[in-house]
Structures are given as C-alpha cells and as structure tokens.
Amino acid sequence: MTIDSIRNGIVLDHIEAGKSMEIYRVLELSKLDCSVAIIKNAVSKKAGHKDIIKIDALIDINLDVLGYIDPGITVNVVKDGHISEKRKLSLPETVTGVIKCRNPRCITSAEQELSHVFRLSDRARGVYRCIYCESKAGTEA
C-alpha cells in the first residue's frame, strides 16, 4: 500500500494501534479541506503495530489533547518534503473539553455551558481529576 508523501504538513507517528480514529474525531480532522490519511496497524519496530495520521497542511494541533490521549505519539512537522521539527508529547497539566465529568453531583452536570476541565493529579499513574468536584476521570463519582 502506498500513500503519497506530503510536502508541507503534519505526520502523527507512533500512535498506539487502534487509537487513530479517536484522534481523528477529537482533533476534528473531518472539518479539514486538505487530504488526511489514516494508516492503521502499520508495522512498528518498537511496538509491533502502530497507527499513523498524515495531514497534508500545516495546521495548529492541540498538543495537550494529543498528549492526554496518547503521550507516546511523535508529531513530525514536514516542510518542503523534509521533517523540519519533531515534537515529543507528555501528559498535559490540564485538559479542557475532552474528558466529560460523569459525577451527577458536579456543577458541570447542571450547567451545560461550563467547560469540563480536568487537571493532572498524579503524573506517575496518569490520574486526572475534575477541577470542580475532584472526581477521577472515567469514574462515576
């Protein structure tokens, strides 16, 4: 299978196999006019398999969101057909509008316009908590 290499754009490499569609959705790549290629289950020397996303335009990527979903991703910025920059990700301090607080007693459950904001409370374990009610990400309360 061949995918045209891009001249000016962004390549998200080393995505954990199976996570590319989630990233496509969260970064709202469907709204772009340019070509976007999603490669699933590519062979990886390190991880066995990986996903790759190629975006044929130099767009702003929300690195915090990306870091939260998969801190192992490498962001390659391609200019004139060459990789001009490689960015490593890490877990961001705060994540806004990505994780939904599921605690029915949280103020975010009553006020629909409030952004759901989560803060990293334990980097070693990758635990995020709602800034309003302190519920753990992914738990009911």
Binding site: N103, R105, I107, E111, L114, C130, I131, Y132, C133, E134
Partner: protein
C-alpha cells in the same frame, strides 16, 4: 490568595496566620469592631444552612460590616435559570466579599472564576466545607495548645462525612498525628482517603468497630449519621444507633480529652455529656464565628 474554595488552598503558614488572628480577635475584640465598616458580605445560600449562614453574618456584623443575600435557591435568580457564574458576577457589583453554599460540587469555584471579589466556599454538596475545617482546627488549637502529636478518634459516619475527610487531610499535614477511625463496616472512610492521604503520607491509623481505643485518645470527633444518605430506613436506624457517646463510655477516657462535633447532632451524643468539661462542641460553634472573622479580614486585605 483571592478565594477560599478548599482547605488545601491554605499553606500551614497561612493557616497559622488565621489561627493567630482569631486568637487576637478573641483577646481584643474592641480593636476589630469597625475594621469592616462600609464593607458588605453577600451570603448566597442556594440550600438552607442556618448555622453556617448566621455564623458568617455574625462574623461580618461584629467587624462593623453589613450583610445581604438569600437563604434558599427559590428566592434567588437561580430559580429563573441564571448560571452560577452570572449570579456571582452580578453580586460582585453589590458586595465586597461573597460566602456561597450550593448543592452542586464545584459551584463556588465557578463563582470564584467569575467574581471580581473574594469568594468563600460555605459548603458545596458533599465535597468541601473549608470554614468548618478551620473551625475544627482553631478549636483543637485552643483546647490542646497544638496541632501536632495528637491521637484523634473519628467516630460515626466516616464514609459520607465531608468534615471528617477534610479534617483528616488537614491534620495529616502536621507532625506526629495518628488516627483511630471508629465506625460500622458500612460507614468506613472511602478508599481514596486511606490511599491518597493516610497511606501515601505514611501516617499511623487504625480502623475499628469498637470503643476500645478510648483511653488513648486526645481528640474525639463525633459525627451524625445522615438520614438522607440512606435508601432504607432500617439501615439508617441500625447505623445511627451503632455508636452513641454516653457518660459511661467516657469513664476510662483521658481527663484532658477534647470532644468535638460539627453539629447538628441527633442522638450520637447523650445530652448528659454536655455537662462534661471535655465536651467542646458548643465552644467549637463560637470558634466558628471567630475564624470566619479572621478569614474575612484576610481575604479583604484588612490587617
């Protein structure tokens, strides 16, 4: 520090500053009786709480300030669907400081982000109630003369009692404290308090379902089993009556034991205990007013 939302917003130094200020207020009330002249406190109580609201209002009045506000959501614009942020921004135009109680967790933080005046969390659902914890700390300090090297027993509903969780978290920051957690099996402290506060900090604690540790305790913090937490009336009644403090129970306790309770009580402390000098819970109520006075002064930047 602009607001007080959680007890962890305060460093131990800031906390000591509040305790020292409260002590000075008690010693020399005349010095402070006009400190807040011309200032207004808004008490925004989206759910009723007579005790906490009156304590805030009494605190501001004793500082020479005035108070305005509402005591239930029905008499506020929240009943018309106004957001917490809009309410807070609006009230900022009328008042110099806001004390807010709200049934939803995190509502005071939303208010603090929107208001240009200080916001004090006066209780947000079962989440935080930092001024109760400040009250407890001032009471322990005044009764025992220190916040370190104390053996503290917590008794009753340790699962849903937010005052218990906050006080454990606060006392865990001081050297040499240990904890005895007395409750029925169903009402033990939540796992995250054990793991994130007690275990992670290597603190000494013991969970038990009996009174056997009474002779070793320096502090006994009693709590009410809350009817609204139970779906089943029979379970509520059984657990409510599991631990009742009586004068007999205190027979082998230390002479200098200090008994606390955030109040209101139901039946967990026998009325006869009130006459025991070791019962400090009504002195605790008074301390609640003094520490709120100290907090209002601090947040308004008045020395």
């Amino acid at each position: 520090m602009k607001d007080l939302i959680s007890i962890t917003d305060l460093t131990t130094e800031a906390l000591q500053g509040l305790i020292d200020k409260a002590q000075d207020l008690i010693a020399d009330p005349g010095k402070y009786c006009e400190k807040c002249k011309g200032k207004k406190l808004a008490t925004l109580f989206f759910e009723p709480s007579t005790r906490t609201r009156l304590s805030f209002e009494a605190a501001m009045l004793e500082l020479g300030g005035s108070v305005l506000g509402f005591s239930e959501a029905g008499s506020s614009s929240a009943s018309k669907g106004e957001s917490v942020a809009d309410t807070a921004q609006t009230i900022s135009c009328y008042a110099d400081i806001i004390a807010m109680r709200h049934p939803k967790e995190g509502a005071p933080l939303v208010a603090a982000q929107a208001a240009c005046v200080p916001v004090i969390n006066a209780g947000d659902g079962g989440h935080n109630h930092p001024t109760q914890t400040l009250t407890d700390l001032l009471t322990i300090y005044r009764e025992k003369g220190r916040l370190t090297k104390l053996k503290i027993g917590f008794c009753g509903d340790l699962k849903f009692g937010r005052t218990v969780h906050s006080l454990i978290t606060a006392m865990a920051r001081y050297q040499g404290n240990s904890f005895v957690l007395i409750s029925p099996e169903e009402l033990r402290v939540p796992g995250y308090i054990r793991k994130d506060t007690l275990d992670r900090n290597g603190l000494s604690y013991k969970e038990t379902d009996n009174w056997n540790d009474m002779p070793d305790l320096d502090i006994l913090y009693m709590t009410r089993v809350q009817r609204e937490r139970f779906f089943n009336e029979a379970d509520y009644l059984r657990l409510r009556d599991a631990f009742i403090l009586t004068t007999d129970r205190l027979a082998d306790a230390k002479g200098e034991l200090c008994i606390l309770h955030p109040l209101p009580r139901v039946n967990e402390i026998e009325r006869a205990v009130d006459r025991d000098e070791r019962a400090a819970y009504f002195r605790q109520v008074l301390n609640g007013k003094y520490i709120r006075m100290a907090l209002i002064l601090k947040l308004l930047g008045i020395d």
